[in-house]
Homo-oligomer: 376 residues x 3
């Protein structure tokens, strides 16, 4: 016996030509058998059905890097106090370069020809909005006729106590937005553009995005965007609002790359935590500076409008050997857990548990330094 043991160790050849396999007890018991097979079937079903088929655990993930280019089209015609005016893209879109975040003016309050001088402030509670900032610097003098004090500021002071209603540029509803989006999955070395195969030059010339009939057309009517975000156009046009245009790429690169297509989603931004509701209201002030008769002047414009943010979310998946084998490997581990559960049942719950225990285990007993392996 000692010799046997000696033969089993040391030499490389014996290691190479030997194969170890665990000895097993084959318990013939219907209850245990069925229970264990069911547990094992559950584990197998989970691994194959859930991890592999449903969650595609055999795939590796990669998030996209991307860039976005936008272009507005459309002209608005207004007649304010008898003055005809036309507004083109340069007049109503800020900034002009076409980035992923821009504003389309839909309403405004213009204050022409402001100069730096002294004038009485306006009587308005809205000056005490978030922090009580004066629109200028107090001179210390107060004016009887207006019941307010004189300030050094850009005069005349802007009067924004009333927002024009209906909004000046309600025609913005028919403006169109063209979005170009290019994404790259750096790990998989895949480039895609939202001008996919079916969106060719002739299609772009005549298409308009519609969620059901034209879901891939990259040209959007502003009114559609607002409506699909759950807003009312007239209300948003009057006081402004922020809208996120989400371009969602979910690509399974195990299929043809032509199936890797964007989905466009629209939602209002900046809701408060309590209601979860997106709130309307967006404005900013814009000044155009010029010199007239040697005097520095500016035209101040309080702009209400749609602030559109194009947000890109790209996620690609592709078969990879490592997640596959990790899933299989840890699946085998969970099989081991199933065995432990069945063993617990076998050795602790069944009436014949002691019989099974004796068959499963062999005990060593150390008596006075003499070891007697007991046979079962």
């Amino acid at each position: 016996r000692e010799r046997e043991g000696g033969r089993g160790e040391g030499t490389v050849s014996s290691f190479l030509f030997e194969y170890e396999t665990p000895r097993q007890v084959l318990v013939r018991n219907r209850r245990v058998g069925i229970a264990c097979r069911l547990i094992q079937l559950g584990v197998l079903g989970y691994i194959i059905g859930w991890v592999f088929i449903y969650e595609k655990g055999y795939q590796n993930e990669d998030t996209a890097i991307y860039s976005v280019f936008t272009k507005m089209k459309g002209v608005a015609y207004t007649q304010i106090s008898g003055v005809e005016k036309v507004w083109d893209v340069s007049d109503y879109a800020f900034p002009d370069q076409g980035g992923d975040s821009f504003v389309v003016m839909t309403n405004f309050i213009i204050t022409f020809g402001q100069t730096q001088s002294k004038c009485p402030e306006l009587l308005s509670p809205s000056l005490l909005l978030i922090t009580p900032f004066l629109p200028g610097h107090m001179t210390g003098k107060c004016v009887n006729t207006t019941h307010t004090c004189e300030i050094v500021t850009w005069c005349p002071v802007e009067d924004d106590r009333q927002i024009p209603n209906p909004p000046c540029l309600l025609a913005a509803e028919n403006f169109t937005l063209f979005i170009k989006n290019s994404i790259t999955f750096p790990e998989f070395k895949v480039d895609r553009s939202n001008l996919v195969e079916s969106v060719d030059a002739s299609y772009i010339k005549r298409c308009l995005y519609h969620p059901a009939t034209d879901p891939l057309c990259p040209i959007f009517k502003l009114g559609d965007i607002v409506r699909l975000s759950g807003f009312n156009f007239t209300e948003v046009a009057r006081v402004g609002g922020s809208i996120g245009v989400l371009i969602d790429w979910e690509c399974d690169l195990d299929y043809s790359i032509q199936n890797c297509k964007p989905k466009y989603k629209f939602h209002g931004l900046y809701g408060s935590g309590t209601t979860g509701q997106a709130s309307v209201g967006y404005n900013f002030r814009k000044a155009n500076y010029y010199v007239e008769d040697k005097v520095q002047k500016r035209t101040l414009m309080k702009v209400f409008g749609l602030r559109i943010e194009v947000i890109v979310h790209g996620l690609a998946r592709k078969f990879d050997i490592i997640p596959t084998l990790t899933a299989i490997g840890s699946g085998v581990g969970i099989f081991g857990v199933a065995t432990v559960v069945c063993d617990l049942m076998l050795l602790h719950l069944l009436p014949k548990r002691n019989l099974y225990k004796n068959m499963k285990f062999k005990y060593t007993e150390i008596l006075d330094g003499v070891s007697v392996p007991r046979q079962m």
Copy 2:
């Protein structure tokens, strides 16, 4: 015996009603027992304590998509060479739309009424900064009085050899910045805004961010932002600087969503690799074009200021069955490693190793084609 073997294979019923469990040797040896239990306890402690409790290995991760809106408030009053002037948001913030990256002007050098003509260049070493670019095109003529050569350029040439000290708009310290940030975790379908439940309309009206007392208030004093970034306000206001406002979302969605709150962090940007220290210095030039007396002119402004970048980092975690079972499965695998280590100890280090080896292993010996299973 052959019959027995035959009965074990083939039929489905025998597969279903049988259960295999490995036969084990139960070694009664204090040293081995304690050593192995300790190793197993260590593995178990690692899996439960580290992977599950500390690193929350039972959760899935998702990174946020987000959008940011900012709004500055505040007015500065200056008296430069006796001329009173008031600077409002349109005058000192660029760009005006309120995106996630913008500049607050704190110091400037204005050159009024530049026209395209010929004038002598300024004597300045600063023209040889990074690459020796002239601010215009040489005419070939040189001027004695200035000891420089004549160039075609916007005249008069900007004189930026001295940066105003103290900075013109030191009052910027009291300007406030309002940040709205909305995030979405696309996988978990969760939307949040930095206006969380406790930040309601009345709180926003009166709050000001303070790291200890008001950590959730989305209104920041510019002076606080600069100080919390480790800068000196007067120095940064004079020469400009870049500051990152990091909005850090770490959300455990297994708890109530109300615990998913932002943390605001501030740090200087663009340090060099050698010192790791964020460096001061940021400026750009801005031109306002106009026509006076039929001549194209521009007002050039060298703007020094705070370039603020709002950076959002959102990470959410939520219980998911797959990472849980992957962690358990690979934990079982590591248990297997513990068994291998104990076996090595048992079979190679203990004095009675040959006894254990004989108990553990059963050898097959193939002699002349006749197999004699040896009984141990």
Copy 3:
């Protein structure tokens, strides 16, 4: 026997001082031995070679948050119909603040002194581009001399039927772009800037990016960027184009942080799906508003240029105990799969399969409620 079983359960001491190890059959068969060792070697090679060494499965990943600052330098000199003009950064770069996305004007069509009035539209097929938008509002009157109808619009109407060729600002080729990029790996708490250790102040003063000789210099010649993106500079300068400057950080933080360096890559953006080729063509309109003789006027500029987007992709890896042990754990699981494959071979393919089956398995047989463990 019952007593034995009783002794093995219940008391903590027996649990602590006992160690279970599976009993194994040691099959001495060359074919099975070699086959199984090869399978096991393959699994071991995969785990160590592929998962650990090649894919660095012992590391955790973190993606960067970042910010980008850009600055253009350079002056262009033009002589258009005898008028000398110099273009500096404020004239050709939009927007001026130096963000991660900006436009360098290389060609333009200027329409001076537009006012809101009535004038005949231009005869041009290009007005029917994507959607048939008029540049103004029809008055209903049509003009014989031009064969077009009168519209209310900014007059004179811009004539963009011919793009200047050669491009006005061909000198843009020699403009330089300076990029500062700072990244943070939030999980590893590591900050880096693209001004790495070897890029010190003196090097920046004289260096110019070159893919082979100066791959770390953060100063780029515009002509180089265009060429490295696969474009022809003259063509892109004439009609415009979009270029992505990718800053790629792949950092193994187990090595010195000084090895964490950026790689700059350049590629054309917004190709169509069909050709995969990046397409040329980028323009936008920019208006400068002013007042002359009490009349609101604007100078309209159709800008063709390079739209440069700096895109940052940062990925860091660092040793972490959890992915290491997950990899080992699932590796052990895959070892288990190897054992199953070998067992299948042993028990179903070999000629002596029934012998091995009898050695491996011990059957329980339940006869009339009396259990007779059969000895093999």
